[in-house]
């Protein structure tokens, strides 16, 4: 049985003359991890803040756990957890005290030690918030979001500005939540993050959703052609004619589009061995989620990187 955790239809929101969200539909089932991907300024935060009840929509219907978030009902807030994009935490309390304070706001909080453990702050539990690193404070943000043991957790760009190690630790924390069956609404502009965490992705650009689906098959990614790439250091004998047709070459970098990569590789490596040619930096690549994303978001996506 799949229940709907979030149902958004025809959502619109403008700031002055700027249309931030221009007719968005989103349906998220209970237990799903949904990622909203998009460049800065695409409307991600506006959407998530409308779902959280922090902003009012101009048009459209919004349902979060069957509540209208615009009414800011306490009963809804008791069942959701919110991790905002950039907020600081009570600086002079310790990790355990802050979580304990927030736990007190909820009718059925999650046990303190479990929360600290899930976000990997056990060693810092008696440290004051002030003394934590940026990554640790961000994980404490998530811990606060978990205080009430929410059914639905909003994570707005949870790892922006992280170093790779801190990002991994955050992902582990989120995966722990997924294994508990929580519904997660994630916004991010990191492809890798969406790929790693989400089972469904929507790409938003200029206030509209331009593609939606599982990260592996987004925008026909699974049927796109594989590319074989390599570099030729010096002038070489001509490649087999069958390969030349699908080949492009620039400054010694060669790309071959391959509908059947096994056959292409077989021919290519056979030829290289026979002619004693070195294929530098040989790789076989399917379009990454990033390729698909950049193609979908166009110049705007690139500008934001």
């Amino acid at each position: 049985m799949t229940e709907t955790a979030i149902d958004v239809r025809g959502l619109r929101k403008s700031y002055g003359t700027v249309e931030a969200v221009r007719g968005v539909d989103i349906a998220i089932a209970t237990g799903e991890v949904f990622a909203l991907l998009g460049p800065n300024g695409a409307g991600k935060t506006t959407i998530v803040e409308i779902l959280e009840g922090h902003r009012q929509p101009d048009a459209g219907t919004v349902s979060v756990l069957n509540f209208d978030p615009a009414r800011r009902e306490r009963a809804m807030k008791q069942r959701i957890g919110i991790v905002l994009q950039s907020t600081s935490i009570e600086q002079f309390l310790t990790v355990a005290e802050v979580i304990e304070m927030y736990r007190g706001y909820y009718p059925k909080p999650r046990p303190l030690d479990e929360i600290i453990d899930v976000v990997g702050l056990t060693e810092k539990r008696d440290e004051r918030v002030k003394k934590l690193s940026g990554g640790q404070q961000r994980r404490l943000d998530v811990a606060i979001g978990l205080a009430g043991d929410p059914e639905l957790l909003f994570l707005d760009e949870p790892t922006t500005g992280f170093d790779p190690g801190a990002r991994r630790r955050m992902w582990d924390a989120v995966k722990n939540l997924v294994s508990l069956g929580k519904t997660i609404f994630l916004t991010t502009h990191y492809m890798e993050e969406a790929q790693e965490l989400a089972n469904r992705v929507a790409v938003i650009t200029a206030g509209r959703i331009v593609a939606e689906g599982p990260p592996g098959t987004l925008a026909g990614r699974e049927t796109s052609q594989t590319v074989v790439r390599f570099r030729l250091a010096e002038p070489v004998p001509a490649l087999p004619r069958s390969l030349k047709k699908a080949m492009t070459s620039k400054n010694g970098r060669v790309e071959i589009e391959a509908a059947d990569p096994v056959k292409v590789l077989h021919e290519l490596t056979g030829w290289a061995l026979e002619k004693n040619v070195t294929l530098d930096e040989l790789e076989v690549a399917r379009p990454t989620l990033e390729d698909v994303y950049l193609q979908l978001t166009g110049a705007e996506g690139q500008a934001a990187q």
Partner: protein, 259 residues
């Protein structure tokens, strides 16, 4: 947990945060005592006493700095603290939890009032111990408590109202101090005003003078009757009510948009 228990709990955490913050604890707590020592050193030889002949200027500074303590603990502390909590997103985060908004504000106010009243007691003890300032009699004690309570409520409300004028954290100290310091000099707090003039007329529009006047009257052992300064209390109260109405209209929970 019911909302009253929630408020008690929130007070506990706010109180802890207050005392662990060296800046707020220092400026709120040490400042009035420091001024007391400094003013007594500078003006100690003055024969002026609001308590009449035979007194000293310490008779003035003890109740006057009680008024100052209420102002810093309530107005300054709340205006700065709430602006900081707002701009750093703490208020927005709290708004996303089931905690009723009033509980947070109530806890902040309660801690400020407790700090202010604690300071009042310390200043009174300090004045008695080091400057031989007589304590008020039981007869005027209700008037003293009334002046302090109405003052604390008014200046808490003014602190909340002031947050609506402060755009960001950097501006907070400037705006908050600029609104208060000139008045402290002309309102019988830092300097005893012995002759009325244009400045005292200006000062009497604002609530600070009325707080110090009400406190000084009630603190004076020679005051006749119960010591209630109804006019002062009424003017302060009017400022307080106006501040509350203003806060209800303009109070923001969210930081200014970053982008």
């Amino acid at each position: 947990m019911n909302d009253i228990a929630l408020a008690a709990r929130q007070i506990k955490y706010e109180n802890r945060s207050f005392w662990r913050n060296p800046a707020s604890a220092f400026f709120t707590f040490v400042f009035p005592l420091m001024f007391m020592v400094i003013f007594n050193l500078i003006f100690g030889n003055s024969k002026y006493s609001p308590f009449g002949p035979g007194g000293t200027v310490s008779d003035f500074y003890t109740p006057a700095l009680m008024a100052f303590a209420i102002i810093t603990a309530c107005y300054t502390n709340i205006a700065m603290g709430v602006v900081f909590a707002r701009e750093s997103g703490i208020l927005k985060r709290l708004r996303g939890t089931p905690l009723p908004s009033w509980v947070f504000l109530f806890a902040r106010i309660a801690v400020s009032v407790m700090v202010g009243l604690l300071l009042v007691v310390i200043i009174g003890a300090f004045g008695r111990a080091f400057y031989h300032v007589r304590l008020p009699g039981l007869r005027t004690l209700p008037a003293l408590v009334a002046a302090l309570v109405v003052g604390a409520a008014t200046f808490c409300a003014l602190g909340l109202a002031m947050t609506t004028f402060v755009p960001n954290v950097d501006a907070a100290p400037a705006v908050v101090n600029a609104t208060i310091f000139p008045l402290l000099f002309i309102s019988d707090v830092f300097i005893p005003i012995q002759h009325n003039g244009a400045l005292t007329t200006v000062a009497s529009i604002f609530p600070i003078k009325h707080l110090s006047h009400a406190v000084i009257t009630a603190y004076n052992p020679l005051t006749k009757g119960s010591g209630f300064e109804w006019k002062d209390l009424a003017i302060m109260g009017a400022w307080g009510v106006a501040a509350i109405l203003f806060s209800l209209r303009g109070f923001r929970w969210e930081p200014k948009e970053q982008s």
